[in-house]
């Protein structure tokens, strides 16, 4: 109440807008906090990037010089033999990458289908026990994966799925987080739109496919990126369920091969890691805004 009273008084707003000549006269002393903030943030940002810079410059160093000190941060010559060593026949990096692509693809596709359907139902369809079921689902976000992994491992073993990609695809075909994310979006659709479709005789399925999904692009993109990243980087599940080289995904394979690659040189390890990070970097640069929207949307309203 008080707040609006204060702001509505007209003289305030004119006082608050500094005229151009006033801005020009701002002294260095007044701008000092802004400058300090810039300096702190810049130093911090450089420190954040140094480990990646070290990784990349080491990956381009000749194999004998990977531990050279002081480190050459910016390589003057480019040695790509580390990268060809990564692709040599003794290192199944390509197989790891293909496995990761396969697992990530099916998990992401599965979540897009199951989460958008469930999210739509929880937001827009009326049925008995809807809120109870939704809360029950949300509660599962609190259940740590380590509690369920032992029984899940035993189930997979009985199904004969150990060292099979299905064992790390099936458990992730749906996610409470994804359902939550899309429900929050579908709640924002105007009711008129849904009613209009109903009047035209569209059933729930048609309304979902023809009206709701076409509008959900940004939210589906956010879920795609978040799921892609989580699956691409997953280590715990593959570590437990996969045990032959041919089946391993990238994080598991590179970590397992680290000792072998390092006997060659740290530069080769860094070449492998650089390659594994590359898709994440590319996707992030292309789709950064969707990604951030997805995270912040659940963050604020969560």
């Amino acid at each position: 109440m008080n707040r609006t009273d204060l702001i509505d008084s007209p003289p305030t707003s004119s006082v608050r807008k500094p005229a151009a000549h006033v801005a020009a006269q701002t002294t260095l002393w007044e701008r000092l906090p802004d400058i300090l903030a810039l300096i702190v943030l810049s130093i911090g940002a450089i420190l954040m990037m140094l480990p990646f810079l070290w990784m990349f410059s080491t990956s381009l160093r000749p194999i004998q010089e990977s531990f050279k000190l002081p480190p050459a941060w910016f390589p003057t010559e480019f040695h790509f033999e580390t990268y060809s060593a990564v692709f040599s026949s003794s290192v199944p990096l390509v197989a790891f990458a293909l496995n990761s692509v396969k697992v990530t693809f099916f998990v992401t596709l599965g979540q897009l289908i199951t989460c958008s359907m469930a999210g739509y139902a929880f937001a827009r369809l009326r049925f008995p026990f809807r809120n109870t079921l939704f809360l029950l689902l949300l509660a599962s976000l609190m259940v740590p994966g380590q509690v369920t992994i032992i029984p899940v491992f035993i189930i997979m073993k009985q199904l004969g799925l150990i060292d099979n990609h299905l064992s790390i695809i099936l458990p992730f075909l749906t996610s409470a987080f994804g359902v939550f994310l899309l429900r929050q979006f579908f709640l924002t659709l105007p009711q008129d739109l849904i009613d209009a479709a109903k009047i035209d005789g569209a059933g729930p399925w048609t309304t979902f496919i023809r009206v709701a999904i076409p509008l959900a692009g940004p939210s589906l993109a956010a879920l795609t990126i978040i799921t892609f990243n989580g699956t691409w980087n997953n280590y715990f599940y593959p570590l437990i369920f996969l045990n032959t080289w041919e089946k391993m995904t990238l994080p598991l394979g590179i970590t397992a091969l680290r000792g072998y690659l390092a006997s060659n040189s740290a530069s080769v390890v860094m070449a492998a890691v650089s390659l594994a990070i590359l898709p994440v970097l590319l996707i992030f640069l292309i789709a950064q805004n969707w990604f951030i929207a997805g995270i912040t949307r659940t963050g604020i309203k969560g």
């Binding site: 469930a118 992994i149 035993i154």
Partner: protein, 306 residues
């Protein structure tokens, strides 16, 4: 005539709402099949296994509460719990604190492209797999060949055994964790800060509030929901710390950096003490649930919802 029409339309409505309810259940069916098979079922099964002695090869043997009694007297379990709590308290505080500081600094007046660059730089490590980050940092932390000791050496600091001395190993793991994860908190805080109406600040500046007061009395109360969200998310994640420790130290030296989840993993999948590992995992579940409930309870007194 009117009567007939009314009944007909009521019948049509009822059929319509039944159809909608049926569709609702069908829509959530795939999710709930997964939920039952992979969350509810396994939780019940884990409780069951925790009451048995089970090595996968021979059938489980009922031992009552023996596993839980063993937990109480297992000195290694106490050690890994202490490590995990230490990690959680320090890593959550630093991740959330630094994330808030960064967000407040970035949220000042500055050109949009600088904001974009800072946001990208601080957030990027969040996206990179923890295993890769750990591999990189393991090299940086090397005692003799690592660049951290090299640059400290230029300042005449004796080489530090970052990953192999019991005193330094946890701070080293936490430092990497903060580098890797604080960008997430920053991003969530930035969204929270940008959601604060400018009106509040204009109103407050009439009372000649200085920057510190503005932050203390306007910004902080208004971002408490975001702060709360971050604390819960980071706490749940930190209590499950695993990947980074496995790659950096394998729990060493001794048990100096072994985490609770590593201990569960080793008991279950290396020693095949499935019953004992299940009992340990159940305690973790209970701890996470209790801490989350406590946070929600305490949160009511300090979280300010508009």
């Amino acid at each position: 005539m009117a009567q007939i029409q009314k009944t007909a339309s009521a019948g049509w409505l009822r059929k319509e709402s039944q159809r909608e309810a049926l569709a609702g259940y069908l829509f959530i069916l795939p999710t709930f099949i997964g939920y039952t098979a992979l969350v509810i079922g396994p939780i019940l099964a884990a409780i069951g296994y925790s009451l048995t002695s089970y090595d996968i090869l021979s059938p489980p043997e009922f031992v009552g509460l023996q596993n839980y009694r063993d937990l109480l007297t297992d000195p290694r379990l106490h050690k890994v719990y202490l490590n995990t709590i230490y990690f959680t308290v320090v890593a959550v505080s630093l991740n959330v604190g630094i994330g808030l500081l960064l967000a407040v600094l970035i949220n000042r007046n500055m050109p949009a492209f600088l904001k974009y660059i800072f946001r990208t730089a601080y957030f990027f490590p969040v996206l990179v797999a923890l295993t890769y980050c750990s591999i990189i940092w393991q090299y940086l932390y090397q005692k003799d060949t690592g660049i951290i000791n090299y640059y400290l050496g230029l300042l005449h600091v004796e080489p530090i055994a970052w990953l192999s001395s019991p005193a330094w190993v946890m701070p080293s793991i936490i430092a990497m964790d903060v580098w890797k994860n604080t960008g997430f908190a920053m991003l969530v805080f930035l969204a929270g800060l940008q959601g604060i109406s400018q009106d509040y600040y204009e109103a407050a500046s009439l009372d000649v509030a200085n920057r510190g007061q503005l932050f203390r009395y306007i910004t902080l109360p208004l971002i408490t929901p975001t702060l709360f969200f971050n604390m819960i998310i980071y706490m749940i994640g930190a209590l499950q710390v695993f990947d980074s420790i496995v790659v950096l130290t394998q729990g060493g030296p001794g048990d100096a950096s072994r985490s609770l989840v590593m201990y569960i993993y080793e008991n279950a999948f290396q020693l095949f003490h499935m019953g004992y590992a299940s009992a340990t995992a159940i305690t973790l579940f209970i701890v996470i649930m209790l801490l989350t409930l406590v946070q929600f309870r305490v949160g009511q007194s300090w979280v300010h919802y508009e």
